[in-house]
């Protein structure tokens, strides 16, 4: 357990890398989306421009205290995920603070940001926020079902909940990756990931042309900037988590970048093909195929 | 119709029970334990030549007290149930006139009936009869009086006195049994006297007289109450 300043600074560096990589990924995603629909899309550096603009806006409006600290919660959620996930295998520096908790901690820390965001947005009193949140929560309950099943399956397989140990167990070449040794769990988790990233067809939370971007609809300026920052971190952190669990982890930042990119774009590609679900459709869908696959994943290890 | 058959069915069941009871009865050749004792010792212990009286008044005198109580209760209940409020009394009830024959005959017979009744209970320990038959006979005299004169009303005061005094007398005699003899209602408070005489068998004649008076009074009371009840407005 290392609480030193050095450790802290290294972690900050990691965070910086992750943030930038996340922003790059998001611009790439938007470009791909644009290309699919026959547009040119934004330049790759657009997110940085947006961020600078947001942080430097002069007018800052707030609906109240919770509204104000909601984004902090949200960002804490993303940063926390990053802090508790070991990024690069075998390197204590890039393992961040993952010594303080295992996979379960990650699974539950997701809620930290969600809840804070939900509360902050709610205080705005904007109906779209509340509708978006209710949709998000509804969908999230079922997204987590295949994920939970997959995690249980992994835990049975590796007899551990420690992410580092799971990665360690996959260090015997590509065939020892979970995606080969436990394909059903991988499939279930990857399907769940589609929902977690919230791209089409599961983008009913932000549903831009329905309830304009949903929960954060009242946020702007610095607050929105914080949320954007968080989005970048969170996407990478989640992809890194999947990478660690199913795809052998990363031995270096390079490997991490490749793998998270592929994981992230799995959801982007799916999203460009399918139209948006309605809430009950989405809820039912997760409880059908992905759940069954998840159950099979457990049965295979019984 | 179905109900009739059900009733018949149930009665058939009761018939079965009664038949079994009948089959269980085999007649008697000798007396049972208790009866044998009464036959052997009744006369000397109680001094009454009528063994039934000995049993009724002494051996099982407590039953008799209950019995008297029942009549007493019945009379009491009837008189409060049939009590008519003053405003409900029909002033002039239309009455069918009694025939001359009944009217005159009753005047002659009633005293005789009373005499017979008194005779029956006074001699209860010697001959068949006793307080109850005697009382009933007296009450029949009262009934005759009511029949012959529908307006005849039984004097509550007299009846109440007779009733109370005889009742209390009965209980007091019983208590004297505890004080002066073997137990409640023991007849040996007085000497047994000569077997077969009127004044014999201890206090049996007194008890039977009280019973007779009380029974007569109760029954008369009941008759009076019922008769009086006809005066109620509908």
């Amino acid at each position: 357990m290392d609480y030193s300043i050095t450790k802290f600074l290294w972690t900050l560096l990691g965070l910086f890398i992750v943030t930038n990589w996340g922003m790059l990924m998001s611009s790439t995603m938007r470009r791909i989306n644009a290309r699919v629909s026959g547009r040119i899309g934004i330049p790759w550096y657009q997110p940085w421009i947006d961020l600078v603009k947001l942080y430097s806006l002069r007018t800052q409006l707030t609906h109240g205290t919770m509204f104000y600290i909601g984004p902090v919660f949200r960002l804490m959620g993303g940063v926390g995920m990053f802090l508790f996930i070991p990024m690069v295998y075998g390197n204590p520096i890039w393992s961040n603070y993952s010594f303080s908790g295992d996979l379960v901690l990650i699974l539950y820390f997701q809620f930290f940001g969600m809840l804070g965001m939900a509360l902050g947005a709610s205080e705005g009193g904007q109906p779209y926020s509340a509708i978006g949140i209710s949709r998000g929560l509804s969908q999230f309950t079922t997204i987590e079902v295949p994920m939970t099943l997959a995690v249980i399956s992994l835990a049975i397989q590796y007899q551990t909940l420690s992410i580092s140990e799971i990665v360690a167990a996959q260090q015997g070449g590509i065939t020892t990756w979970t995606m080969w040794t436990n394909p059903f769990a991988t499939v279930a988790a990857m399907l769940s990931l589609l929902g977690a990233f919230g791209h089409s067809p599961f983008n009913l939370v932000k549903a831009p042309n329905e309830i304009p971007i949903g929960p954060p609809t009242e946020y702007h300026g610095t607050f929105l900037g914080v949320l954007r920052t968080n989005g970048a971190i969170l996407h990478v952190a989640e992809a890194a988590l999947f990478m660690n669990l199913f795809f052998g982890g990363a031995g270096s930042w390079f490997e991490l970048i490749i793998k998270t990119f592929l994981i992230y774009f799995w959801s982007v590609f799916v999203g460009t093909v399918f139209p948006r679900f309605r809430i009950e459709q989405s809820v039912r869908w997760f409880l059908k195929v992905p759940t069954i696959i998840g159950i099979i994943a457990i049965i295979l290890f019984l | 119709m179905i109900k009739k058959w059900i009733i018949l069915g149930i009665l058939a069941g009761m018939g079965l029970i009664f038949f079994d009871l009948f089959s269980a009865f085999r007649g008697n050749e000798t007396l049972g334990k208790t009866a044998d004792y009464y036959a052997r010792h009744g006369a000397e212990e109680v001094g009454a030549s009528n063994i039934v009286t000995a049993i009724v008044v002494t051996y099982r005198g407590f039953d008799t007290l209950g019995e008297v109580t029942i009549l007493f209760l019945t009379a009491a209940i009837i008189s409060f149930v049939l009590k008519i409020r003053q405003e409900d009394i029909l002033p002039n009830r239309p009455i069918r006139i009694t025939s001359e024959l009944l009217d005159s005959a009753s005047q002659v017979i009633v005293p005789v009936i009373f005499m017979v009744g008194i005779y029956i209970f006074v001699n209860g320990h010697l001959t068949p009869g006793g307080g109850f038959p005697g009382g009933a006979v007296i009450a029949s005299g009262v009934l005759l009086m009511i029949l012959s004169n529908p307006n005849f009303s039984v004097s509550h005061k007299v009846i109440a006195w007779v009733e109370s005094i005889s009742g209390v007398g009965f209980v007091l005699l019983g208590v004297m049994g505890i004080l002066f003899a073997g137990g409640f209602l023991d007849n040996r408070v007085l000497g047994l006297g000569d077997f077969g005489k009127l004044f014999s068998a201890g206090i049996i004649p007194f008890i039977y007289s009280f019973i007779g008076l009380k029974v007569g009074a109760e029954l008369s009371n009941i008759l009076g109450a019922i008769s009086h009840a006809q005066n109620e407005k509908n």
Binding site: - | I7, G15, F25, T30, L31, G42, T64, E67, T74, I226
Partner: protein, 117 residues
């Protein structure tokens, strides 16, 4: 002899019961009871009968040999009591009938079903 008496008693009891259970007129039901009671009284007396013995009154019979000469006095004493009780109950029932008649001007047993369930 005693068999005839006791079976008559039972027959009367059945008859009385039939009256109680099937008659619709309250007075007849009360009459059923008196018949029923009479039956019981006959049964009781019959039970105390001892073949060929006399009534338990020791005016002619000598007290010393009474045990072999008289019938059982106990049932007779009981019957006496039972009759009086029967009388009391019957009187009470009749008064009830009287009052019931006043109430509804009817003696039909089916008119008195106000209390149920």
């Amino acid at each position: 002899m005693e068999y005839i008496a006791i079976s008559t008693g039972f027959a009367l009891m059945l008859l009385g019961l039939w009256g109680i259970l099937s008659q619709k007129n309250l007075i007849k039901i009360v009459l059923g009871f008196t018949i029923f009671d009479t039956g019981i009284n006959i049964v009781m007396v019959s039970i105390g009968y001892v073949k060929g013995k006399a009534a338990p009154i020791l005016d002619v019979i000598n007290a010393s040999e009474a045990a072999n000469k008289i019938v059982d006095p106990v049932p007779q004493a009981l019957v006496l009591t039972a009759i009086v009780i029967g009388l009391g109950v019957t009187a009470l029932m009749l008064v009830y009938v009287l009052k019931l008649h006043r109430e509804k001007n009817s003696l039909d047993i089916n008119s008195f079903k106000d209390l149920k369930w």
